[in-house]
Symmetry: C2
Subunit: 300 residues, 2 copies
């Protein structure tokens, strides 16, 4: 029999994952969100209950996905006292999908084990449309036996398992995710500099983007962010504020190890600058606002 | 009838271009190199004369390719006085392939026109094997009529013209090339940080590279440089010293325009550091020597 499923955090990612699992025949029994209208709306759509207490979410399902925003929110839903997912959690399994500090995944696993529950980190290197389509790139960390047991549900989210990876013990998937985002953000900030300098020189940005795509300058972000940078279409798939946070996670890992990462540091500084300009809610492509002539971050 | 061809600068790129044109039925009549053995060896191989004076090269062919290293060498072969390609150059055409400051291409065009000659910049966004195979990505700048006239020979070098682009007036192709290399170098330096931090954290670098290649971190340099970074195979296709120079060209264009380019600046600083460590002759992938644990640039 299929596990029953619940979701904590039903922003656009969580909501789409819930829709996908419902569509694949899973009973999504309960949803919870700090933003009550998000939970209410999704619950009505997929026939789930709205929970206003975390303990009720745990009671309502075998497997609970958490899709929260940052370290503090992740620790918050697994609090040691008061309302918490860990209340009467023996036998339950938590799948934690946020991009957070790897050490927090290790903490959560220990806290879950202490009450007889299981946890798995499932870091997503894809975005909102892939969540709905069930084609997320999913990198998992934690106990391998827990991973194997959860494979059926994870498979429905990861292109029938083609995009599913077991990385290693708790924390390691979060490390890989932080590195993916660090490198992606560097490539994004670099692309913004190349296109911005080109525009400043009077070169046709579309010609330049085409040349980049055909040469050693090519990258995934050339395809995903290049046109948006030129057209100033920064409707959000992955926000600048998230980019700043994720680059910060990777940088902190480097600092811990005494490693100098000047590109990652410069990229974080650019995203921090964008956030300080009040543009944190723009998509990560918004970093081009700092490098194109006559735009916000260039005094334009 | 096919134009007769000569080459100034027959390092590995120039030599392979000459071989390709010879193979396609062009008469490559003369070669010149400051490093005499390079010229002698190639001349013997393809049946060309070795010139020891630049004026003799111009006398020997209709179309003269120059494939030199930097601004000073490019200006040197087109000197206004003394031995120079411009001596009795009326009616001749020069195709200049080095990655140099865009303003130097403009200077050379003016100097050539003054003596009744023509010039075209043909910037190559590919490497040594592509030169031999005739599959160079060629970006051309200069008078469009000159470009059209040279199409037959340029076509033989650029995958039957599929990789041939007319960009605009003199200097513009050099600008695009500088931007391509700037972005490529940023991506390279960023990849080295991602893989280096991963190795420091104890993650399997080959797993990490595979994940990068399948996610938003992917880029052309993941494919061209990733394994070399892991295996420390830095045999040279495009040297760290060239990367430092090219990043410098783009940065200078930015500074001229008052544009802040923190990623490009951080990348140039890394390549400068590598050169200062005596590693300028390594391939650009050698930048990973600065970011992997227990390597040269990390005190290892």
């Amino acid at each position: 029999m299929k596990s029953t499923i619940a979701f904590v955090g039903v922003g656009r990612m969580g909501a789409n994952m819930a829709r996908r699992l419902k569509e694949q025949g899973y009973a999504v029994t309960a949803v919870y969100d700090r933003h009550a209208p998000s939970a209410k709306e999704l619950a009505a759509e997929i026939g789930a209950s709205v929970c206003t207490e975390l303990a009720a979410v745990t009671a309502a399902a075998d497997v609970i996905f958490t899709v929260v925003t940052d370290d503090a929110s992740q620790r918050g839903v697994f609090a040691a006292t008061g309302d918490s997912l860990l209340v009467k959690a023996a036998g339950k399994t938590f799948i934690n999908c946020a991009t957070i500090s790897p050490a927090v995944h290790v903490e959560i696993e220990a806290a879950a084990q202490k009450v007889g529950a299981h946890s798995l980190e499932a870091c997503m290197a894809s975005s909102i449309p892939q969540a709905l389509a069930g084609t997320l790139y999913l990198m998992c960390g934690g106990d391998q036996a827990v991973f194997e047991r959860l494979k059926p549900v994870l498979t429905e989210l990861s292109d029938q398992g083609k995009l599913l990876r077991y990385i290693g013990p708790a924390g390691t998937a979060g490390q890989v995710k932080a590195l993916v985002n660090m490198v992606m953000n560097i490539n994004t900030a670099g692309l913004a500099e190349g296109l911005g300098l080109g525009a400043t020189l009077g070169l046709d940005p579309k010609m330049l983007l085409e040349v980049f795509s055909q040469t050693g300058a090519n990258s995934r972000v050339v395809a995903t962010d290049g046109e948006d940078m030129i057209n100033r279409d920064h409707s959000c798939y992955f926000s600048a504020a998230h980019a700043a946070k994720d680059s910060g996670i990777a940088l902190a890992l480097g600092v811990e190890k005494g490693l100098s990462l000047p590109l990652a540091a410069a990229t974080k500084a650019q995203y921090d600058r964008l956030v300080a300009l009040g543009c944190g809610a723009l998509d990560k492509s918004g970093i081009a606002e700092l490098t194109f002539p006559a735009r916000k971050g260039t005094g334009g």
